[in-house]
């Protein structure tokens, strides 16, 4: 840490615990920040594209996860460098907003920073660079919108949606079954989608995982699957025309929240209390039964006696249903969540066509399926796979695919993948660069180079020669005036991404470019890092 000294050679103390803090200023700070952020981008780079590789992440507790999803990778890496953390947030905000393209956004930011580094070496002021990037970004976005195409999502049995889902799934470990899984995702989203409002409530799609079988055993269940079984082993396993009583109070004697003491001082008291207690259970069950319910789902536990009373009254019940499941069931079946037994009324019951217990594998694990719910069509995707890691990764992949489909329903404009959109933007930005008369020209040009970095990276990951293939695609885009020429990653023999049917949503691409530019601008603005030394 650089210090200022007074006439006697004593340092001025400006910051608290100054001696223990580390400080970087000026160019040194810029470069260090950029390098740290680039290190993260470099790790992700090889995960990009249909032939991208996976990362194996070992958690502090020794648990292993294998993934290709950018947001998950950076999250689990436990990055501690402050600037690198910005990239983690970048990836996560892409994940929260769009759900897909989390790797691409980080790689693009990395490429932009790489270019910024060269520009800094040339002596261009960081603010000029970020200004240039900003202007280039605007041009790129505009061009992106002009080359975007509207697709008819209804046409041909939602073929376009399936293709888009396949593109999202293509880079994952489940890519072998991308078509089947894509279809599952599309059906799931369409089942719950509100096409009039162009909105999809993703809460209605539950993704449940269960190890065993293979990825192709993954299926869509039109209904809700909960990982619970009936509270009493002898209750009936199937309820038709279910009227559901959804409770958030336990089948137990009430526990008032205020502290109290009941003193028993005579035998009569004792007997009274005993009767009172018996009465509680009888009443509880009666209240449920009287409302016309034929199944009770409860967020809390049951007392043994209450449990048996339920059985005796032919009232199947499920205990310890998780809070999210309770909400989902409430939404789907139209049930009101009932917090007190006294408030049970027939109107508050939810309705479903069928509730039954299903079993998997040899290990006697049972789950409950709630089918044909009254209100909305809630669906569950049951993911199977050879091991926990595969199942987890499949879950993340399907989530991505679902997000893509939702985005398409919201906004049906697409651009073509395979790096073609980036290339087209790069060309446009390059053209624009020559019109800029100030220093920013260099920054704009570098922005174009950074955009080209994405197809380059794709080609590299696919084992193609990055420079030749990008050059070829670029010249073909220019000569044929066709912005759909990209990198032929799957070696299908055509570079036209329309023919390959590689669809990406416009919103995702736009978001990627905008977010990446923003973060880069932010990093370029930092010229002083003060941090505790041991950090």
């Amino acid at each position: 840490m650089s210090l200022a000294f007074d006439d006697y050679g004593r340092p001025y103390i400006i910051l608290r615990d100054q001696g223990q803090k580390k400080r970087m200023k000026g160019l040194e700070a810029y470069k260090s920040n950029i390098l740290a952020a680039k290190a993260v981008a470099n790790t992700l780079q090889s995960s990009l594209g249909p032939k991208g590789m996976d990362k194996m992440l070992v958690s502090p507790d020794g648990d292993v996860s294998v993934t290709n999803d950018g947001a998950t990778i950076v999250e689990k890496m436990e990055i501690q460098h402050p600037t690198a953390k910005l990239l983690v947030e970048l990836s996560q905000s892409q994940d929260a907003e769009i759900g897909d393209g989390t790797t691409g956004v980080v790689v693009l930011a990395g490429k932009l920073l790489e270019q910024a580094l060269t520009l800094l070496d040339k002596g261009i002021h960081p603010l000029k660079i970020s200004d240039g990037f900003d202007r280039a970004c605007d041009v790129a976005i505009k061009h992106l919108e002009s080359i975007a195409e509207e697709i008819d999502i209804q046409a041909n049995d939602h073929e376009a949606l399936i293709q888009a889902a396949c593109t999202a799934l293509g880079s994952k470990v489940v890519s072998k079954r991308k078509r089947e899984l894509g279809k599952i995702a599309v059906t799931a989203v369409l089942d719950v989608a509100d096409l009039k409002r162009k909105d999809v409530n993703l809460d209605l799609i539950k993704i449940q995982t269960k190890t065993g079988g293979s990825v192709e055993d993954t299926r869509l269940i039109s209904g809700i699957l909960i990982d619970k079984d009936m509270s009493h082993p002898q209750m009936q396993k199937e309820v038709k025309d279910a009227k559901i009583c959804l409770l958030t109070c336990p089948f137990e004697p009430p526990k008032p929240k205020t502290k109290h003491n009941i003193n028993i001082s005579s035998a009569e008291d004792y007997k009274k209390l005993y009767q009172q207690e018996q009465q509680y259970f009888v009443e509880m069950v009666k209240l449920v039964k009287d409302s016309g319910a034929n199944i009770a789902l409860c967020q809390w536990g049951f007392d043994d006696e209450a449990n048996h009373l339920l059985l005796q009254n032919d009232l199947p019940a499920v205990r310890w249903v998780s809070g999210t499941d309770v909400e989902l069931i409430a939404m789907a079946t139209g049930a009101r969540i009932i917090p007190r037994f006294q408030e049970i009324t027939p109107e508050k019951l939810g309705k479903a066509g069928c509730i039954k217990e299903v079993q998997f594998g040899t290990s006697n694990e049972r789950m409950l399926v709630i089918e044909n719910c009254q209100c909305t069509k809630a669906v569950t995707i049951l993911i199977r796979g050879g091991s926990q890691m595969i199942v987890d990764e499949a879950k993340r992949s399907i989530h991505d695919a679902i997000c893509v489909i939702r985005n398409l329903i919201k906004d049906n404009r697409i651009v073509y993948g395979g790096g073609s959109a980036e290339l087209a933007c790069a060309l446009q930005v390059l053209q624009y660069a020559d019109e800029v008369s100030s220093v920013e020209q260099y920054a704009v040009r570098s922005f174009a180079d950074a955009l080209e970095g994405i197809p380059c990276c794709l080609a590299d990951n696919c084992g193609l020669n990055p420079i030749t293939s990008v050059a070829q695609a670029k010249s073909r885009q220019l000569t044929e005036k066709n912005p759909r020429i990209g990198i032929d990653c799957m070696e299908l023999g055509t570079s036209d991404m329309k023919e390959q049917k590689i669809y990406e949503t416009l919103s995702s691409k736009k978001q990627q470019i905008q977010l990446a530019t923003q973060v880069v601008k932010m990093i370029l603005k930092i010229d002083d890092v003060i941090a505790p030394d041991d950090y």
Binding site: A36, T211, Q388
Partner: protein, 536 residues
């Protein structure tokens, strides 16, 4: 990164590590192959066992396990290597899903990776290898389904198949000498379930003493409990009341109650009230007119005496699973309240005879002639608890396989036949595929063929020669041939009666390919800094 005055800033936490590219791949290959090699020697009828010894201090740590079961071995190992953990994971899943083939799945994944490593060394991109494997896997599974046969569930052939499958599964276990005996025993137990897959109804009781041969299947139901002293030891035509209720002083559950009295008289009064309450409960129970009362919870002296006075046999403190089995077997309902004696007929269970029997030196209660005749008990005897544990695991494997077979019904020939056929299918396919993937398909075939090879090696036979002869036989069209591990020859599996469950093989191939692919796709391993643990 060679910028003057700038070293790469530290991005990850202090003790975290990151391995990239070749290093990462090497690390995962080494780990996975090491784990596979470790369990390799247990494969096949001549496979060897492992002793597992827990580490650390403490009394229970001295308990060792001797086993041949892949899942048990892998589960008990603590490994650091992340790829090795994946292998352990698939072995566990195999155990849960089909119950057997846990060693096979780990070994197959390991062999696939061994082959994969060679391809990587030839500078073939991992994604190409994966693409090839995927083709190969589909081809192999298709062949597996094609060669499998299906019999009607009621038919005698199916019954024979089950016995053959049980024999095959048992042949790699400790009790291989008595496999005919146990195969018969297990098949009978499974057939009693009548297609249900609830293994809970088959109870396994382990009792040291005697020899393995003394084990038997009891068609009744045995509860590892004693009848309370002073009750009848033998009840015919029993009406059983199964309950889960407090039979001690029955505490009041309303929150915050407390007994506070100011004189000795009052204490006595409350005591009397408690007694009366108990009596009241007993009276209610008596209204059901049971002849035997089984409770999950403790029964105190007072109610026990009341019940015994009324001529009811009392069994207290049965475990929960035992309760459920009793309930299932006798058709009883598990009661917690006793206010509806009019439902007597529905809630009471029934069985022809309940008696206390001695097995070895332990007293047990046996229920025969139960209403629902599904439950049964396998009593295992053996000279030491280690042997019994291993026999228990073997029987569990067999039961799982049999249940899977009952559900799926497709069977294939054993003795490495299915693996060799799948390998052959892959090789045929490789000739048709253009591009580098073909190499990976061939590699897949080699990995599959490693399974019978390892079985030969474990038996001490000349694997190279046997496997070649095997290949020739298949080429000749003798599609039911396989390895005869008794003589070290290639023989007709039809004559030897060695069959295996198709579902087990299918699951093993699927899980192993998925795991191998997962590991193959990794090019970067990030290990987070281990969580600091407080030392106790």
């Amino acid at each position: 990164m060679d910028i003057v005055g700038n070293v790469l800033p530290q991005v990850l936490k202090d003790e975290a590590t990151e391995d990239k590219g070749e290093m990462a791949r090497l690390q995962s290959f080494v780990g996975a192959i090491a784990v596979a090699d470790l369990v390799k020697t247990t494969l096949g009828p001549k496979g060897m066992d492992k002793i597992l010894k827990p580490t650390g201090p403490g009394q229970e740590m001295t308990h060792i396990t001797v086993t041949n079961d892949g899942a048990t071995i892998l589960k008990s190992m603590y490994v650091e290597n992340p790829a090795a953990k994946i292998l352990i994971e698939i072995s566990k899943t195999q155990d849960e899903e089909v119950g057997d083939g846990t060693t096979t799945v780990a070994v197959l994944a390991g062999e696939l990776l061994r082959e994969g490593e060679k391809l990587i060394q030839k500078r073939i991109h991992p994604q190409h290898v994966i693409a090839g494997w995927r083709i190969a896997r589909d081809v192999a599974l298709k062949r597996l389904r094609d060669i499998s046969t299906e019999n009607d569930i009621e038919s005698q052939e199916f019954h024979n198949d089950l016995i053959k499958i049980a024999r095959t599964t048992l042949s790699s276990k400790l009790i291989t000498t008595d496999r005919d005996y146990f195969a018969d025993l297990c098949v009978k137990a499974v057939l009693r379930l009548k297609g249900s897959s609830n293994l809970d109804y088959i109870q396994i009781i382990k009792l040291p003493g005697g020899t393995i041969r003394d084990s038997y299947l009891d068609d009744g139901f045995i509860l590892k409990k004693q009848i309370t002293i002073g009750c009848k030891r033998r009840i015919e035509n029993a009406k059983i009341l199964v309950a889960n209720t407090a039979m001690d002083y029955d505490k009041i559950k309303i929150y915050g109650t407390k007994v506070k009295v100011n004189s000795m008289d009052k204490v006595a009064e409350i005591e009397a009230a408690e007694k009366e309450k108990m009596k009241h409960k007993v009276d209610k129970i008596l209204k059901f007119q049971p002849t035997i009362f089984i409770n999950r919870q403790l029964i105190y002296n007072y109610p026990e005496q009341l019940l015994a006075d009324s001529g009811i046999t009392v069994i207290e403190h049965a475990d929960f699973e035992g309760m459920e089995r009793v309930a299932a077997a006798t058709g009883a309902e598990i009661l917690s309240t006793f206010d509806a004696p009019e439902r007597r007929d529905q809630v009471l269970g029934h069985c022809d005879l309940i008696e206390e029997i001695m097995i070895g030196e332990e007293k047990m209660i046996k229920f025969t002639g139960c209403k629902k005749n599904e439950a049964c008990t396998i009593v295992l005897r053996g000279s030491s608890i280690h042997i019994l544990d291993e026999v228990d695991r073997s029987i569990h494997d067999v039961l799982c396989v049999l249940i899977t077979t009952v559900k799926n019904r497709r069977v294939v020939w054993g003795g490495g036949n299915s693996e060799m056929q799948m390998a052959a299918a892959c090789e045929e396919e490789a000739k048709k595929v253009q591009g580098k993937q073909a190499l990976a398909i061939e590699a897949y075939a080699r990995a599959l063929r490693q399974i019978p090879t390892i079985i030969c090696d474990n038996g001490g036979y000349d694997s190279a020669e046997l496997i070649q002869n095997f290949k020739v036989e298949l080429q000749k069209g003798n599609l039911s041939y396989g390895l005869n591990m008794n003589d070290g020859t290639v023989g007709d599996m039809k004559e030897l009666g060695i069959k295996e469950c198709m579902r087990v093989k299918e699951q093993a191939v699927m899980a192993a390919s998925e795991a191998a692919e997962l590991i193959m796709r990794v090019d970067d391993i990030v290990k987070c800094a281990p969580r600091k643990r407080e030392r106790a």
